[in-house]
Structures are given as structure tokens and as C-alpha cells.
């Protein structure tokens, strides 16, 4: 099946702007960054998440796509990025999730190895909104003093996140994306 939806209107500029926003998001964890690239991704994928995927995925990346997505998401990503899909989250470079459900656990994904910590899985997690949940305070590189956020996440997520930050340099990095915003949560960001 070939997708019927186009990718970036201006591939070079749009990808560069999106890349800059994603870089800023990981450089300043917990801050909201806007991804305003006009894009019509297939159903289930938000424009911000679609833009992030088109920017970071390529022929050499292995992607774990949540089974909750429809098949046209897979066809769209395959056509526009040429990425490869794996059913095993442990072997994925990127994982794309449409929401946080009860089965979610950071342990499903690859933490990297001591020789190659950069091989860990980077998660794109879509959320309806990036505010309105339980407030937490973050500290770490890229944060002066402290950064308060209130992502709408399940309670046990932050327990798992604390474990994730204790294995440095191993660990998982996350991008939380809404319709047109992104927030980075790299492995170096700790809870206060």
C-alpha cells in the first residue's frame, strides 16, 4: 500500500526548523517548544509528531510503531522516510506511541549498552495536551535551578523515570508531543 498523503511541503526548510525545535527541546528539558510546520499526517498521528518523524527517521533507523496506529501511518512513514519497522521494541532506535496506556513501561525499550549508550530507543509519545497533570519539579543539564512541569501522565511513570535516570549513561530519551508542541525529557533530567 502506498500512502496518499504528502510529506513536508518544503523538505529542507521544514526539516531544519523541526530539527532545531527538537534539539532545543532536548537542550532545555521541560520547556514547551512549538512545531508549527504545516503538515497533513495520516489519522492518529499529530502534525508535530509527524514532523518529528519525517525529520529524524531515515533508511537506517529501526522503528517500533505502536499497534494502536492504523496501517496508513506505517505506509506514510515508510514512503516519506524509508525507515524500517521492527515488532520488537528492544531493537528499535525510535518508538512511536499514540498515547500513554496502562501497558506502557519504559522497561520494554532498549536502554543502550555501555559501549554504545547512544543506541538506546528514543520515544515519541503523543499526548492530547502537555499540561494539566500532576506537577513535578525537574533538575539536570539544561535546567537552571529547577523546572516545573505538569504533564498528564500515569502516576507510576515518574517512578520508572527515576530508575531510568539512575543508569546514566544508559537510558531512554523521550519527546512528548501534542498537536503542535513538543517537550523533551532526556535521560539526564532528574526529579527533585
Amino acid at each position: 500500500m502506498i500512502t496518499q498523503l504528502p510529506g513536508f511541503g518544503d523538505p529542507v526548510d521544514d526539516a531544519q526548523q523541526t530539527f532545531r525545535a527538537l534539539l532545543n527541546a532536548l537542550s532545555h528539558p521541560g520547556r514547551l517548544h512549538t512545531l508549527s510546520t504545516p503538515l497533513t499526517p495520516p489519522g492518529g498521528l499529530t502534525p508535530a509528531c509527524g514532523a518529528a518523524c519525517l525529520t529524524l527517521l531515515d533508511l537506517e533507523t529501526w522503528v517500533w510503531l505502536s499497534p494502536a496506529f492504523q496501517t496508513d501511518v506505517k505506509a506514510w512513514l515508510q514512503f516519506h522516510t524509508g525507515c524500517r519497522f521492527t515488532p520488537d521494541p528492544q531493537s528499535a532506535n525510535f518508538a512511536i506511541l499514540p498515547d500513554m496506556d496502562a501497558k506502557f513501561s519504559l522497561n520494554h525499550f532498549n536502554m543502550g549498552t555501555a559501549e554504545q549508550p547512544e543506541q538506546s530507543t528514543t520515544l515519541f509519545i503523543q499526548l492530547q495536551t502537555l499540561i494539566g497533570g500532576k506537577p513535578v519539579l525537574l533538575k539536570g543539564p539544561g535546567i537552571q535551578d529547577q523546572q516545573g512541569i505538569d504533564l498528564p501522565l500515569p502516576d507510576d511513570f515518574w517512578q520508572e523515570w527515576q530508575q531510568n535516570t539512575q543508569n546514566y549513561p544508559l537510558g531512554i530519551d523521550i519527546f512528548f508531543v501534542s498537536q503542535n508542541q513538543v517537550m523533551g525529557l532526556p535521560r539526564t533530567t532528574q526529579l527533585i
Binding site: I2, T3, Q4, P6, G7, P11, F79
Partner: protein, 150 residues
């Protein structure tokens, strides 16, 4: 209606045709059904691989510049045309993709086949033939006058 088994053949003809000839053939047939770019023309590289004598083991001959383009034509169901051409001409890739889509279109395939593909094929055959004759004219036959036997 054309068969998809013929698709590699027409895509090859469109890709190898000179752009000026393709433009000349296509211009009188416009306007075409509306189309958008699913993948705007983009330039990249491809590795050409070969086998010595067609049977040896595969080796990398070198990289060539390719331009590729995918258009989507508004019809029911939507038709997708793919164009892959050597070189860096966006226009050539676009025209090849548009012709590929039209050749899958029930109302257009006859016209494109007779007005574009067949003349381009004939022109390519003629070029090939001329080249063959030019080459043949330079042929040298070696023969032995004396075999060195006493």
C-alpha cells in the same frame, strides 16, 4: 487498458528519452488532470552495479545522480505516478511521473501510449541503430597473412 507488466518498459522509455523530445510530445496533449506532488522532485545518488560479461560476480561500478518524483493524480481511485530519471532535471522527473500516472488512467492510456511512448521508443531505436551503424563502420578485421610456419 495497459497491463502493469508493461510498466517497467514505459518507465524505462520515459527515463531514457531526451527531455526536449518528451516536452515536444507532451505539450500538444495538455491540459492533463490535476495532480499534486506526493514527493516533490528531489536529487539523490544511486549506486550502479554491474557484472562482468553479465555473469561474473557483482561489483560497484560507480554512483550516478538520480532525480525522483512521485505525483498523485485526482481520480477515483487516486493514481500515483513514479518518475526516476538520470541526471538532475526536476522537470524530466516530473514529466516521467505524470506520464506514468496517465498510463494507468483508463481515459488517457491510449493517447499517451500512441502519442508519447511509441514515438519515443521509435526515436530511441533509431538512435541506437545509427550508433550501431557508426560503430560498424569503424570495424577492423584482423587476419593472418602468414602463420609463421616454415
Amino acid at each position: 487498458m495497459l497491463q502493469t507488466s508493461q510498466r517497467p518498459s514505459w518507465m524505462g522509455i520515459l527515463a531514457k528519452a531526451p527531455l526536449s523530445l518528451l516536452e515536444d510530445r507532451i505539450r500538444p496533449l495538455e491540459p492533463f488532470p490535476a495532480y499534486d506532488f506526493l514527493r516533490p522532485p528531489e536529487i539523490g545518488l544511486a549506486m550502479v552495479r554491474g557484472r562482468t560479461g553479465g555473469t561474473g560476480s557483482v561489483f560497484n561500478l560507480g554512483e550516478i545522480t538520480l532525480t525522483r518524483c512521485v505525483v498523485q493524480m485526482q481520480s477515483q481511485p487516486p493514481l500515483q505516478g513514479f518518475g526516476f530519471v538520470k541526471g538532475r532535471s526536476h522537470r524530466h522527473a516530473e514529466l516521467a511521473a505524470v506520464c506514468d500516472a496517465l498510463l494507468q488512467h483508463p481515459d488517457w492510456c491510449e493517447t499517451i501510449q500512441t502519442q508519447v511512448i511509441e514515438p519515443l521508443k521509435a526515436a530511441a531505436l533509431q538512435d541506437h541503430d545509427t550508433q550501431q551503424r557508426h560503430t560498424a563502420a569503424t570495424q577492423v578485421n584482423f587476419f593472418t597473412l602468414a602463420r609463421g610456419e616454415s
